[in-house]
């Protein structure tokens, strides 16, 4: 009989258990770490058709986000500007630069530039820019320091926890309405943020919206 089952098979049950444990732990850890927005979406930085830099335009030139994303206060959708808007400046600035060839062409023909969309929540999520922006929430809360990025990448996970963390406690994030597009703004101290936040909550009648139907309707 001993010929059929060689000696090492005695350790087979142990190996199977260890293997299953290791494998199970490994797969669980892998899914936990990799199969979330924090891994899959954060850091997504597609190659854009034009090497447009927010660091140059928003930070160095000090342009307000709303010069270009002018619908952000009025609509759920924050528009990407048309190339005619770029040409307001670039008909004089870098007039013949090859980096802007596509912009000039597009402004002439009316064919839009095919910018690659970066931030995307699933379509079953109801999102609205104007509610947030008009209630004292800065772009930086959800997009990170775009004004320091040469190429925009997704900085926050935008998953459900991310949204809910703030919806449970908006006071920690509210800021004066004229500082919405000032991404470098910092509250003076944690206490002042608490005090101001509570005041804004009261003055603007901000609610803490946690019902599923807020975002899934």
């Amino acid at each position: 009989m001993s010929d059929i089952f060689p000696k090492w098979t005695n350790r087979l049950p142990l190996m199977m258990i260890t293997g299953a444990l290791l494998g199970g732990t490994g797969v669980t850890a892998g899914v936990w770490y990799y199969c979330t927005n924090k891994y899959a979406n954060v850091g997504y930085m597609p190659v854009q058709p034009v090497a447009f830099s927010h660091a140059i335009h928003a930070d160095q030139l000090g342009m307000d986000c709303r010069y270009c994303h002018n619908a952000v206060e009025k609509s759920w959708y924050s528009n990407i500007p048309t190339s005619t808007l770029c040409m307001n400046c670039h008909n004089q600035v870098l007039k013949d630069d090859p980096k802007l060839a596509l912009v000039r062409e597009s402004a002439q023909s009316g064919e839009p530039i095919h910018w690659v969309q970066i931030h995307k929540v699933p379509d079953y999520v109801f999102f609205n820019h104007s509610v947030h922006v008009n209630r004292g929430l800065s772009c930086v809360e959800c997009h990170g320091q775009v004004n320091k990025m040469d190429e925009v990448h997704q900085a926050k996970s935008l998953n459900m926890t991310f949204c809910l963390d703030c919806h449970r406690d908006p006071a920690a994030h509210l800021r004066p309405l004229d500082k919405i597009t000032d991404l470098d703004w910092q509250p003076k101290s944690e206490e002042s943020q608490r005090a101001d936040g509570a005041k804004f909550m009261h003055d603007w009648k901000v609610e803490s919206l946690q019902n599923c139907s807020t975002c899934h309707r």
């Binding site: 260890t18 891994y39 850091g43 010069y67 079953y124 990448h153």
Partner: protein, 207 residues
């Protein structure tokens, strides 16, 4: 047993090397395993769409039609000139109430839309001029421009002029009048004479 552990360690290392860390910059779009509910066949603004010939989901207006809420009527408030003719209106139409709220709005909108070129003071020394990227920018305190009527300024913002692009598509009608009102205040701030200062304060200023 040794091989088992070795294989496991190898697998972990391979996954970590291939996978990288959270937050690493990546050129590849995120993988969506079951995208059917995530990406529904509905129109999103500014997204490509094959249904239409020009491939755009955001439709341009059909020629000869007017969208709801459009300011299409040939009225001074919408155009800055008298109906039917090109005579510009003298002052801000009565429908626009010039009050503190409008001035504040105007200041904010001026700083957003005009200051990159004309500067926060309106003196034509915006950032684009200062760094030498832009050659021609008008000084809005120029007597010629100060003498323009409100309607003419409104028209310039709406349709652009010379090297300046049109801001009609980006700035709503009310905001354009607010900008005109604020621009007037800016210009006034440089036109003041000593006589405008109340008598008790004049001596202080002289010093």
């Amino acid at each position: 047993m040794r091989y088992l552990l070795l294989i496991f360690a190898l697998a972990v290392v391979v996954v970590m090397v291939v996978g990288g860390r959270r937050g690493d910059l990546s050129r590849r779009p995120p993988i969506e395993l079951f995208a059917d509910m995530d990406r529904q066949p509905k129109l999103r603004p500014q997204a490509p769409n094959d249904f239409f010939g020009d491939g755009r989901s955001s439709r341009l207006g059909v020629a000869g039609t007017v969208a709801r809420g459009d300011h299409y009527q040939d009225l001074p408030i919408n155009t800055g000139h008298m109906p039917g003719v090109t005579n510009v209106v003298e002052s801000i139409p009565a429908e626009i109430k010039v009050d503190e709220a409008l001035m504040n709005r105007g200041q904010q909108r001026f700083n957003i839309n005009c200051s990159p070129c004309h500067g926060a003071q309106g003196d034509g020394n915006g950032i684009t001029k200062r760094i030498g990227a832009m050659g021609v920018v008008a000084d809005l305190h120029d007597p010629r421009i100060v003498k323009m009527t409100d309607g003419e300024l409104f028209g310039i913002i709406t349709n652009g002029k010379g090297l300046m692009g049109a801001y009609g598509p980006n700035v709503p009608v009310e905001d354009r009048w607010a900008i005109v009102a604020y621009l007037r205040a800016l210009q006034l701030s440089r036109l003041g004479t000593l006589d405008d200062v109340p008598a008790p304060f004049r001596a202080q200023l002289k010093k």
